[in-house]
Protein backbone atom coordinates (compact mmCIF):
# COMPACT_ATOMS: atom_id res chain seq x y z
CA UNK A 1 0.00 0.00 0.00
CA UNK A 2 2.74 2.47 0.99
CA UNK A 3 4.54 1.73 -2.29
CA UNK A 4 1.40 2.59 -4.28
CA UNK A 5 0.80 5.84 -2.36
CA UNK A 6 4.41 6.97 -2.94
CA UNK A 7 4.22 6.19 -6.65
CA UNK A 8 0.79 7.83 -7.02
CA UNK A 9 2.04 10.99 -5.27
CA UNK A 10 5.02 11.14 -7.56
CA UNK A 11 2.91 10.75 -10.70
CA UNK A 12 0.48 13.44 -9.54
CA UNK A 13 3.40 15.88 -9.05
CA UNK A 14 4.59 15.21 -12.62
CA UNK A 15 1.14 15.84 -14.07
CA UNK A 16 0.68 19.01 -12.00
CA UNK A 17 3.99 20.41 -13.24
CA UNK A 18 2.89 19.80 -16.83
CA UNK A 19 -0.50 21.45 -16.33
CA UNK A 20 0.87 24.42 -14.36
CA UNK A 21 3.41 25.18 -17.07
CA UNK A 22 1.09 24.58 -20.01
CA UNK A 23 -0.33 28.12 -20.22
CA UNK A 24 3.14 29.60 -20.35
CA UNK A 25 4.71 27.22 -22.88
CA UNK A 26 1.88 26.68 -25.36
CA UNK A 27 2.01 30.30 -26.52
CA UNK A 28 5.56 30.19 -27.87
CA UNK A 29 7.67 27.70 -29.78
CA UNK A 30 10.81 28.92 -27.99
CA UNK A 31 9.14 28.20 -24.64
CA UNK A 32 7.67 24.86 -25.75
CA UNK A 33 10.71 23.26 -27.37
CA UNK A 34 13.74 24.87 -25.72
CA UNK A 35 12.30 26.25 -22.44
CA UNK A 36 12.98 29.86 -23.44
CA UNK A 37 16.75 29.14 -23.68
CA UNK A 38 17.39 30.16 -20.08
CA UNK A 39 18.10 26.91 -18.23
CA UNK A 40 21.16 27.17 -15.94
CA UNK A 41 24.01 24.61 -16.07
CA UNK A 42 23.17 22.69 -12.86
CA UNK A 43 19.50 22.22 -13.69
CA UNK A 44 20.37 21.40 -17.29
CA UNK A 45 23.00 18.87 -16.18
CA UNK A 46 20.50 17.01 -14.02
CA UNK A 47 17.96 17.11 -16.84
CA UNK A 48 20.50 15.78 -19.38
CA UNK A 49 21.55 13.01 -17.02
CA UNK A 50 17.92 12.09 -16.37
CA UNK A 51 17.09 12.15 -20.08
CA UNK A 52 19.95 9.82 -20.89
CA UNK A 53 19.71 7.61 -17.80
CA UNK A 54 16.66 5.77 -18.95
CA UNK A 55 14.87 2.69 -17.72
CA UNK A 56 17.81 1.10 -19.52
CA UNK A 57 20.19 2.73 -17.10
CA UNK A 58 18.53 1.27 -14.02
CA UNK A 59 16.65 -1.88 -14.99
CA UNK A 60 18.45 -2.46 -18.29
CA UNK A 61 22.04 -1.82 -17.24
CA UNK A 62 21.75 -4.34 -14.44
CA UNK A 63 19.95 -6.84 -16.66
CA UNK A 64 22.63 -6.47 -19.32
CA UNK A 65 25.46 -6.88 -16.78
CA UNK A 66 23.74 -9.93 -15.29
CA UNK A 67 23.36 -11.50 -18.74
CA UNK A 68 26.41 -10.37 -20.71
CA UNK A 69 28.91 -9.64 -17.91
CA UNK A 70 30.36 -6.42 -16.49
CA UNK A 71 33.00 -5.72 -19.20
CA UNK A 72 30.43 -5.83 -22.04
CA UNK A 73 28.08 -3.59 -20.06
CA UNK A 74 30.77 -1.05 -19.24
CA UNK A 75 31.83 -1.07 -22.90
CA UNK A 76 28.30 -0.09 -23.89
CA UNK A 77 27.77 2.58 -21.24
CA UNK A 78 31.34 3.96 -21.41
CA UNK A 79 30.51 4.76 -25.03
CA UNK A 80 27.83 7.17 -23.81
CA UNK A 81 30.20 8.69 -21.25
CA UNK A 82 32.89 9.24 -23.88
CA UNK A 83 30.21 10.68 -26.15
CA UNK A 84 29.67 13.58 -23.75
CA UNK A 85 33.14 15.19 -24.13
CA UNK A 86 32.82 14.60 -27.86
CA UNK A 87 29.49 16.44 -27.77
CA UNK A 88 30.91 19.15 -25.57
CA UNK A 89 33.87 19.75 -27.90
CA UNK A 90 32.44 18.94 -31.32
CA UNK A 91 28.86 20.22 -31.27
CA UNK A 92 27.86 22.12 -28.10
CA UNK A 93 29.40 25.47 -28.97
CA UNK A 94 28.54 25.72 -32.69
CA UNK A 95 25.03 24.30 -32.29
CA UNK A 96 24.20 26.59 -29.37
CA UNK A 97 25.38 29.53 -31.47
CA UNK A 98 23.25 28.23 -34.36
CA UNK A 99 20.37 28.72 -31.94
CA UNK A 100 17.40 26.85 -33.44
CA UNK A 101 15.34 23.98 -32.01
CA UNK A 102 16.38 20.61 -33.44
CA UNK A 103 19.22 18.68 -35.07
CA UNK A 104 17.12 18.65 -38.27
CA UNK A 105 17.14 22.46 -38.26
CA UNK A 106 20.92 22.38 -38.52
CA UNK A 107 21.08 19.59 -41.08
CA UNK A 108 18.37 21.17 -43.27
CA UNK A 109 20.24 24.47 -43.20
CA UNK A 110 23.62 22.88 -43.95
CA UNK A 111 22.25 20.47 -46.57
CA UNK A 112 19.06 22.08 -47.91
CA UNK A 113 17.36 19.17 -49.67
CA UNK A 114 14.04 17.28 -49.17
CA UNK A 115 15.92 14.01 -48.50
CA UNK A 116 17.40 15.62 -45.41
CA UNK A 117 14.36 17.71 -44.42
CA UNK A 118 12.03 14.70 -44.60
CA UNK A 119 14.37 11.74 -44.12
CA UNK A 120 16.00 12.91 -40.87
CA UNK A 121 12.74 13.49 -38.92
CA UNK A 122 11.37 10.15 -40.11
CA UNK A 123 14.54 8.36 -38.99
CA UNK A 124 14.30 10.09 -35.61
CA UNK A 125 10.66 9.09 -35.11
CA UNK A 126 11.18 5.44 -36.09
CA UNK A 127 14.31 5.05 -34.01
CA UNK A 128 12.86 6.83 -30.97
CA UNK A 129 9.62 4.88 -31.09
CA UNK A 130 11.69 1.69 -30.62
CA UNK A 131 13.59 3.40 -27.81
CA UNK A 132 10.28 4.34 -26.13
CA UNK A 133 9.00 0.75 -26.38
CA UNK A 134 12.03 -0.45 -24.42
CA UNK A 135 11.39 2.19 -21.75
CA UNK A 136 7.79 1.15 -21.44
CA UNK A 137 8.77 -2.45 -20.82
CA UNK A 138 10.94 -1.24 -17.93
CA UNK A 139 7.97 0.67 -16.47
CA UNK A 140 5.63 -2.27 -16.91
CA UNK A 141 7.80 -4.98 -15.36
CA UNK A 142 8.74 -2.70 -12.45
CA UNK A 143 5.18 -1.89 -11.49
CA UNK A 144 4.19 -5.53 -11.96
CA UNK A 145 7.03 -6.86 -9.82
CA UNK A 146 6.98 -4.32 -6.99
CA UNK A 147 3.40 -3.02 -6.92
CA UNK A 148 1.58 -6.15 -8.06
CA UNK A 149 -0.19 -4.26 -10.88
CA UNK A 150 -0.47 -6.41 -14.04
CA UNK A 151 2.05 -5.55 -16.78
CA UNK A 152 -0.48 -4.28 -19.32
CA UNK A 153 -2.33 -2.13 -16.77
CA UNK A 154 0.82 -0.50 -15.43
CA UNK A 155 2.06 0.06 -18.97
CA UNK A 156 -1.17 1.84 -19.89
CA UNK A 157 -1.18 3.97 -16.73
CA UNK A 158 2.45 5.02 -17.10
CA UNK A 159 1.93 5.92 -20.75
CA UNK A 160 -1.11 8.06 -20.00
CA UNK A 161 0.73 9.97 -17.29
CA UNK A 162 3.83 10.94 -19.22
CA UNK A 163 2.02 11.58 -22.48
CA UNK A 164 -0.28 13.92 -20.59
CA UNK A 165 2.43 16.07 -19.01
CA UNK A 166 4.68 16.15 -22.08
CA UNK A 167 1.86 17.08 -24.43
CA UNK A 168 0.82 20.08 -22.37
CA UNK A 169 4.01 21.08 -20.57
CA UNK A 170 6.69 20.95 -23.29
CA UNK A 171 10.41 21.30 -22.56
CA UNK A 172 9.93 23.42 -19.45
CA UNK A 173 7.79 20.72 -17.79
CA UNK A 174 10.28 18.10 -18.92
CA UNK A 175 13.18 20.05 -17.48
CA UNK A 176 11.63 20.37 -14.04
CA UNK A 177 10.24 16.84 -13.92
CA UNK A 178 13.65 15.62 -15.11
CA UNK A 179 15.35 17.41 -12.23
CA UNK A 180 13.04 15.62 -9.76
CA UNK A 181 13.44 12.35 -11.63
CA UNK A 182 17.22 12.64 -11.92
CA UNK A 183 17.56 13.34 -8.22
CA UNK A 184 15.34 10.38 -7.39
CA UNK A 185 17.40 8.09 -9.64
CA UNK A 186 20.73 9.15 -8.17
CA UNK A 187 19.41 8.83 -4.61
CA UNK A 188 17.86 5.39 -5.15
CA UNK A 189 20.74 3.80 -7.09
CA UNK A 190 23.47 5.20 -4.83
CA UNK A 191 21.31 4.61 -1.73
CA UNK A 192 20.71 0.98 -2.71
CA UNK A 193 24.42 0.47 -3.36
CA UNK A 194 25.29 1.98 0.04
CA UNK A 195 22.70 -0.07 1.92
CA UNK A 196 23.97 -3.23 0.22
CA UNK A 197 27.53 -2.27 1.20
CA UNK A 198 26.43 -1.75 4.80
CA UNK A 199 25.02 -5.30 4.83
CA UNK A 200 27.49 -7.16 2.63
CA UNK A 201 30.85 -5.44 3.12
CA UNK A 202 33.03 -3.09 1.09
CA UNK A 203 32.65 -2.73 -2.69
CA UNK A 204 35.79 -4.88 -3.13
CA UNK A 205 34.34 -7.68 -0.96
CA UNK A 206 30.99 -7.49 -2.78
CA UNK A 207 32.69 -7.53 -6.17
CA UNK A 208 34.91 -10.50 -5.21
CA UNK A 209 31.92 -12.45 -3.89
CA UNK A 210 30.00 -11.81 -7.11
CA UNK A 211 32.93 -12.89 -9.29
CA UNK A 212 33.44 -15.99 -7.15
CA UNK A 213 29.77 -16.95 -7.44
CA UNK A 214 29.73 -16.33 -11.19
CA UNK A 215 33.15 -15.97 -12.86
CA UNK A 216 31.41 -15.15 -16.15
CA UNK A 217 30.40 -11.80 -14.61
CA UNK A 218 33.97 -10.52 -14.99
CA UNK A 219 34.84 -12.24 -18.26
CA UNK A 220 34.77 -10.56 -21.63
CA UNK A 221 32.66 -13.52 -22.69
CA UNK A 222 31.99 -15.40 -25.87
CA UNK A 223 30.59 -12.42 -27.79
CA UNK A 224 32.71 -11.13 -30.60
CA UNK A 225 34.97 -8.14 -30.10
CA UNK A 226 32.92 -6.45 -32.82
CA UNK A 227 29.75 -6.58 -30.68
CA UNK A 228 31.37 -4.85 -27.68
CA UNK A 229 33.20 -2.31 -29.84
CA UNK A 230 30.03 -1.73 -31.86
CA UNK A 231 27.99 -0.97 -28.74
CA UNK A 232 30.69 1.46 -27.56
CA UNK A 233 30.84 3.23 -30.92
CA UNK A 234 27.05 3.45 -31.26
CA UNK A 235 26.74 5.41 -28.03
CA UNK A 236 29.92 7.47 -28.41
CA UNK A 237 28.69 8.60 -31.84
CA UNK A 238 25.07 9.01 -30.71
CA UNK A 239 25.50 11.48 -27.86
CA UNK A 240 26.74 14.38 -30.04
CA UNK A 241 23.80 14.00 -32.45
CA UNK A 242 20.98 12.38 -30.50
CA UNK A 243 18.03 14.79 -30.69
CA UNK A 244 16.95 14.79 -27.03
CA UNK A 245 20.50 15.67 -25.91
CA UNK A 246 20.99 18.24 -28.69
CA UNK A 247 17.71 19.96 -27.71
CA UNK A 248 19.19 20.36 -24.23
CA UNK A 249 22.14 22.21 -25.76
CA UNK A 250 19.65 24.66 -27.24
CA UNK A 251 17.99 25.20 -23.84
CA UNK A 252 21.24 26.45 -22.27
CA UNK A 253 21.72 30.17 -21.72
CA UNK A 254 24.93 30.19 -23.78
CA UNK A 255 27.55 27.91 -25.35
CA UNK A 256 29.73 27.81 -22.24
CA UNK A 257 26.80 26.79 -20.02
CA UNK A 258 25.92 24.09 -22.56
CA UNK A 259 29.42 22.61 -22.33
CA UNK A 260 29.48 22.78 -18.54
CA UNK A 261 26.09 21.08 -18.21
CA UNK A 262 27.08 18.27 -20.59
CA UNK A 263 30.19 17.53 -18.53
CA UNK A 264 28.42 17.70 -15.17
CA UNK A 265 25.75 15.35 -16.49
CA UNK A 266 28.41 12.92 -17.63
CA UNK A 267 29.90 12.64 -14.13
CA UNK A 268 26.52 11.93 -12.55
CA UNK A 269 25.74 9.36 -15.21
CA UNK A 270 29.08 7.56 -14.78
CA UNK A 271 28.66 7.37 -11.00
CA UNK A 272 25.14 5.89 -11.31
CA UNK A 273 26.23 3.29 -13.87
CA UNK A 274 29.35 2.25 -11.94
CA UNK A 275 27.42 1.87 -8.67
CA UNK A 276 24.78 -0.24 -10.39
CA UNK A 277 27.21 -2.51 -12.22
CA UNK A 278 30.03 -2.89 -9.70
CA UNK A 279 27.96 -3.17 -6.49
CA UNK A 280 24.28 -3.98 -7.07
CA UNK A 281 24.73 -6.58 -9.84
CA UNK A 282 27.34 -8.71 -7.98
CA UNK A 283 25.00 -8.86 -4.97
CA UNK A 284 22.17 -9.89 -7.29
CA UNK A 285 24.28 -12.58 -8.90
CA UNK A 286 25.00 -14.10 -5.48
CA UNK A 287 21.35 -13.93 -4.36
CA UNK A 288 19.70 -14.92 -7.67
CA UNK A 289 22.17 -16.87 -9.81
CA UNK A 290 19.67 -18.26 -12.34
CA UNK A 291 17.09 -15.63 -13.27
CA UNK A 292 15.03 -16.30 -16.40
CA UNK A 293 14.52 -12.63 -17.30
CA UNK A 294 17.76 -10.78 -16.55
CA UNK A 295 16.03 -7.40 -16.59
CA UNK A 296 14.31 -8.45 -13.32
CA UNK A 297 17.52 -8.46 -11.24
CA UNK A 298 17.17 -5.01 -9.64
CA UNK A 299 13.52 -5.64 -8.86
CA UNK A 300 14.30 -9.01 -7.27
CA UNK A 301 16.90 -7.37 -5.03
CA UNK A 302 14.48 -4.64 -3.98
CA UNK A 303 11.74 -7.18 -3.32
CA UNK A 304 13.90 -9.46 -1.19
CA UNK A 305 16.13 -6.98 0.65
CA UNK A 306 14.17 -3.83 1.41
CA UNK A 307 11.06 -2.59 3.20
CA UNK A 308 7.93 -1.20 1.46
CA UNK A 309 9.01 2.46 1.71
CA UNK A 310 12.32 1.80 -0.06
CA UNK A 311 10.53 -0.43 -2.56
CA UNK A 312 8.09 2.41 -3.26
CA UNK A 313 10.98 4.79 -3.81
CA UNK A 314 12.61 2.23 -6.11
CA UNK A 315 9.47 1.94 -8.23
CA UNK A 316 9.25 5.73 -8.37
CA UNK A 317 12.95 5.89 -9.36
CA UNK A 318 12.55 3.36 -12.17
CA UNK A 319 9.41 5.11 -13.37
CA UNK A 320 11.37 8.37 -13.09
CA UNK A 321 14.17 6.93 -15.23
CA UNK A 322 11.67 5.67 -17.77
CA UNK A 323 9.63 8.86 -17.79
CA UNK A 324 12.56 11.27 -17.88
CA UNK A 325 13.87 9.59 -21.01
CA UNK A 326 10.52 8.86 -22.59
CA UNK A 327 9.29 12.42 -22.15
CA UNK A 328 12.43 13.76 -23.81
CA UNK A 329 12.09 11.19 -26.61
CA UNK A 330 8.42 12.07 -27.08
CA UNK A 331 9.24 15.76 -27.27
CA UNK A 332 12.01 15.04 -29.80
CA UNK A 333 9.55 12.97 -31.86
CA UNK A 334 6.93 15.67 -31.72
CA UNK A 335 9.44 18.34 -32.70
CA UNK A 336 10.57 16.09 -35.58
CA UNK A 337 7.00 15.91 -36.87
CA UNK A 338 5.38 19.19 -35.78
CA UNK A 339 8.40 21.47 -36.22
CA UNK A 340 10.61 19.72 -38.80
CA UNK A 341 7.96 18.21 -41.06
CA UNK A 342 4.67 20.06 -40.64
CA UNK A 343 6.01 23.56 -40.06
CA UNK A 344 9.23 23.57 -42.04
CA UNK A 345 8.38 21.26 -44.94
CA UNK A 346 4.64 21.58 -45.49
CA UNK A 347 3.32 24.82 -44.00
CA UNK A 348 5.58 27.62 -42.94
CA UNK A 349 2.79 29.99 -41.96
CA UNK A 350 1.26 28.05 -39.07
CA UNK A 351 0.89 30.00 -35.84
CA UNK A 352 2.66 28.95 -32.65
CA UNK A 353 -0.65 27.85 -31.18
CA UNK A 354 -1.46 25.72 -34.25
CA UNK A 355 1.97 24.08 -34.05
CA UNK A 356 1.40 23.44 -30.34
CA UNK A 357 -1.92 21.72 -31.09
CA UNK A 358 -0.30 19.53 -33.75
CA UNK A 359 2.41 18.79 -31.26
CA UNK A 360 -0.06 17.60 -28.62
CA UNK A 361 -1.68 15.26 -31.16
CA UNK A 362 1.72 13.92 -32.25
CA UNK A 363 2.80 13.19 -28.67
CA UNK A 364 -0.40 11.21 -28.11
CA UNK A 365 -0.10 9.27 -31.37
CA UNK A 366 3.57 8.33 -30.86
CA UNK A 367 2.93 7.47 -27.19
CA UNK A 368 -0.01 5.22 -28.02
CA UNK A 369 1.81 3.45 -30.88
CA UNK A 370 4.77 2.75 -28.62
CA UNK A 371 2.41 1.52 -25.91
CA UNK A 372 0.72 -0.85 -28.36
CA UNK A 373 4.12 -2.22 -29.41
CA UNK A 374 5.20 -2.58 -25.78
CA UNK A 375 2.35 -5.01 -25.06
CA UNK A 376 4.66 -7.57 -26.73
CA UNK A 377 7.98 -6.31 -25.34
CA UNK A 378 11.53 -7.09 -26.52
CA UNK A 379 13.56 -9.62 -24.51
CA UNK A 380 16.58 -7.58 -23.37
CA UNK A 381 15.79 -3.87 -23.46
CA UNK A 382 19.33 -2.47 -23.54
CA UNK A 383 20.31 -4.37 -26.67
CA UNK A 384 17.02 -3.50 -28.35
CA UNK A 385 17.22 0.25 -27.93
CA UNK A 386 20.96 0.32 -28.64
CA UNK A 387 20.18 -1.19 -32.06
CA UNK A 388 17.62 1.58 -32.65
CA UNK A 389 20.07 4.30 -31.62
CA UNK A 390 22.66 2.75 -33.96
CA UNK A 391 20.54 3.82 -36.93
CA UNK A 392 20.70 7.43 -35.75
CA UNK A 393 24.46 7.28 -35.18
CA UNK A 394 25.00 5.71 -38.60
CA UNK A 395 22.87 8.27 -40.41
CA UNK A 396 23.54 11.52 -38.58
CA UNK A 397 27.02 11.48 -37.01
CA UNK A 398 29.06 12.03 -40.17
CA UNK A 399 26.77 14.67 -41.75
CA UNK A 400 26.63 16.66 -38.49
CA UNK A 401 30.31 16.49 -37.59
CA UNK A 402 31.40 16.86 -41.23
CA UNK A 403 29.01 19.78 -41.70
CA UNK A 404 30.39 21.56 -38.64
CA UNK A 405 34.10 20.89 -39.06
CA UNK A 406 34.97 19.98 -42.67
CA UNK A 407 35.13 22.95 -45.03
CA UNK A 408 34.59 20.78 -48.09
CA UNK A 409 31.36 19.26 -46.79
CA UNK A 410 28.66 20.14 -49.32
CA UNK A 411 25.08 19.23 -50.23
CA UNK A 412 25.88 16.05 -52.16
CA UNK A 413 28.32 14.92 -49.48
CA UNK A 414 25.79 15.46 -46.69
CA UNK A 415 23.02 13.60 -48.48
CA UNK A 416 25.33 10.73 -49.46
CA UNK A 417 26.63 10.36 -45.89
CA UNK A 418 23.07 10.26 -44.49
CA UNK A 419 21.64 7.82 -47.03
CA UNK A 420 24.64 5.46 -47.12
CA UNK A 421 25.00 5.42 -43.31
CA UNK A 422 21.37 4.45 -42.73
CA UNK A 423 21.20 1.99 -45.64
CA UNK A 424 24.40 0.14 -44.75
CA UNK A 425 23.44 -0.06 -41.07
CA UNK A 426 19.93 -1.31 -41.82
CA UNK A 427 21.25 -3.93 -44.24
CA UNK A 428 23.80 -5.18 -41.72
CA UNK A 429 21.25 -5.36 -38.88
CA UNK A 430 19.00 -7.48 -41.07
CA UNK A 431 21.79 -9.84 -42.19
CA UNK A 432 21.76 -12.93 -39.95
CA UNK A 433 25.53 -13.58 -39.88
CA UNK A 434 26.67 -10.14 -38.76
CA UNK A 435 27.42 -9.99 -35.00
CA UNK A 436 24.95 -7.87 -33.05
CA UNK A 437 25.73 -4.15 -33.06
CA UNK A 438 28.78 -4.67 -35.29
CA UNK A 439 27.00 -3.04 -38.24
CA UNK A 440 27.95 0.43 -37.00
CA UNK A 441 31.65 -0.42 -37.45
CA UNK A 442 31.05 -0.65 -41.20
CA UNK A 443 28.19 1.85 -41.52
CA UNK A 444 30.11 4.80 -40.02
CA UNK A 445 33.21 4.44 -42.25
CA UNK A 446 30.90 3.86 -45.23
CA UNK A 447 29.03 7.07 -44.38
CA UNK A 448 32.32 9.00 -44.08
CA UNK A 449 33.64 7.54 -47.35
CA UNK A 450 30.38 8.44 -49.10
CA UNK A 451 30.60 12.00 -47.83
CA UNK A 452 34.20 12.37 -48.95
CA UNK A 453 33.59 10.90 -52.41
CA UNK A 454 30.32 12.76 -53.05
CA UNK A 455 31.83 16.02 -51.80
CA UNK A 456 34.63 15.66 -54.33
CA UNK A 457 32.16 14.94 -57.13
CA UNK A 458 29.57 17.56 -56.16
CA UNK A 459 29.58 21.34 -56.39
CA UNK A 460 32.03 23.11 -54.08
CA UNK A 461 30.34 24.71 -51.07
CA UNK A 462 29.66 28.43 -51.42
CA UNK A 463 31.97 30.87 -49.58
CA UNK A 464 28.82 32.29 -47.93
CA UNK A 465 28.01 28.94 -46.29
CA UNK A 466 31.63 28.41 -45.22
CA UNK A 467 31.66 31.86 -43.63
CA UNK A 468 28.38 31.13 -41.88
CA UNK A 469 29.75 27.87 -40.41
CA UNK A 470 32.94 29.70 -39.43
CA UNK A 471 30.83 32.19 -37.46
CA UNK A 472 29.31 29.27 -35.51
CA UNK A 473 32.79 28.35 -34.29
CA UNK A 474 33.61 31.92 -33.26
CA UNK A 475 37.02 32.31 -31.63
CA UNK A 476 37.60 28.61 -31.06
Amino acid sequence: MIERILVAAYLVVCILIGILLSRRVLSSRDEYWVAGRRIGPWVNAMAIMAALASGGSIVGVMGYAYEAGIPATLALFAGAVVGFPLASILVARPLRRFGKFTITDFLSWRYPHPIVRIGVPILIVVSFTMYIVAQMKAAGITAEALLGIPYNTSLTLATLVFVLYVSVGGMLAITWTDVIQGTLMVVVVLGTAMLLMARNGSPVEIFEAGIQAAPALGAAGERSLATDLGAFVIWAAAIPIIPHVVMRVYTARNASDARLSLNLAMILYAVVILAAVMVIVPVGKVLFPTLGDSDQIFLKIMESQFNPVIRGLAVAAVLAAVMSTTDALLLACSSAIAHDLVANVWGRNLSSRAISRINIVVVWIVGLIAMALAYSPPELITGYYTDAIGALSAGLFVPVIGGLWWKRANLTGGIAAFVVGVAVYAALVLLPDVPKRAGILIALPASAAAMWLAALLGKTETPKMIEAVERLHGDN
Partner: protein, 76 residues
Protein backbone atom coordinates in the same frame (compact mmCIF):
# COMPACT_ATOMS: atom_id res chain seq x y z
CA UNK B 1 42.40 27.22 -47.47
CA UNK B 2 42.71 24.71 -44.64
CA UNK B 3 40.39 21.73 -44.96
CA UNK B 4 38.99 21.92 -41.43
CA UNK B 5 37.69 24.66 -39.16
CA UNK B 6 40.20 25.29 -36.36
CA UNK B 7 39.89 23.48 -33.03
CA UNK B 8 41.83 24.48 -29.91
CA UNK B 9 44.97 22.42 -29.38
CA UNK B 10 43.80 21.29 -25.93
CA UNK B 11 40.44 20.06 -27.25
CA UNK B 12 42.13 18.25 -30.12
CA UNK B 13 44.65 16.51 -27.84
CA UNK B 14 41.86 15.51 -25.42
CA UNK B 15 39.72 13.98 -28.17
CA UNK B 16 42.72 12.10 -29.60
CA UNK B 17 43.73 10.83 -26.13
CA UNK B 18 40.19 9.58 -25.48
CA UNK B 19 40.06 7.78 -28.79
CA UNK B 20 43.50 6.21 -28.28
CA UNK B 21 42.58 5.00 -24.78
CA UNK B 22 39.33 3.55 -26.14
CA UNK B 23 41.16 1.85 -28.99
CA UNK B 24 43.77 0.32 -26.66
CA UNK B 25 40.94 -0.96 -24.42
CA UNK B 26 39.46 -2.93 -27.29
CA UNK B 27 42.67 -4.62 -28.43
CA UNK B 28 42.50 -8.42 -28.06
CA UNK B 29 44.87 -8.52 -25.06
CA UNK B 30 42.38 -6.55 -22.98
CA UNK B 31 39.73 -9.24 -23.44
CA UNK B 32 41.91 -12.13 -22.39
CA UNK B 33 44.04 -10.52 -19.64
CA UNK B 34 42.34 -10.45 -16.23
CA UNK B 35 42.91 -8.60 -12.98
CA UNK B 36 40.97 -9.28 -9.77
CA UNK B 37 38.61 -11.58 -11.64
CA UNK B 38 37.61 -9.12 -14.36
CA UNK B 39 39.01 -8.75 -17.86
CA UNK B 40 41.11 -5.66 -18.54
CA UNK B 41 38.44 -4.52 -20.99
CA UNK B 42 36.13 -3.97 -18.00
CA UNK B 43 38.76 -2.13 -15.96
CA UNK B 44 39.79 0.06 -18.88
CA UNK B 45 36.17 0.97 -19.55
CA UNK B 46 35.65 1.83 -15.86
CA UNK B 47 38.80 3.98 -15.99
CA UNK B 48 37.50 5.72 -19.12
CA UNK B 49 34.18 6.40 -17.38
CA UNK B 50 35.97 8.07 -14.47
CA UNK B 51 38.75 9.88 -16.33
CA UNK B 52 36.91 11.34 -19.31
CA UNK B 53 34.27 13.25 -17.33
CA UNK B 54 36.75 14.42 -14.72
CA UNK B 55 39.29 15.78 -17.20
CA UNK B 56 36.58 17.30 -19.40
CA UNK B 57 35.01 19.07 -16.44
CA UNK B 58 38.34 20.45 -15.23
CA UNK B 59 39.02 21.76 -18.75
CA UNK B 60 35.63 23.46 -19.07
CA UNK B 61 35.86 25.07 -15.62
CA UNK B 62 39.38 26.31 -16.45
CA UNK B 63 38.11 27.75 -19.71
CA UNK B 64 35.23 29.54 -17.97
CA UNK B 65 37.51 31.09 -15.36
CA UNK B 66 39.96 32.26 -18.07
CA UNK B 67 37.07 33.86 -19.98
CA UNK B 68 35.84 35.53 -16.80
CA UNK B 69 39.27 37.00 -16.07
CA UNK B 70 39.57 38.22 -19.65
CA UNK B 71 36.18 39.92 -19.34
CA UNK B 72 37.23 41.54 -16.06
CA UNK B 73 40.44 42.82 -17.64
CA UNK B 74 38.52 44.33 -20.57
CA UNK B 75 35.92 45.91 -18.29
CA UNK B 76 38.53 47.05 -15.72
Amino acid sequence: MKKFFPMSRGDFCFVVALLVLALVSFLPWARSAQWAGMSMLGWMMALLMVLSPTIALVRVIGERSRSASRREEVEG
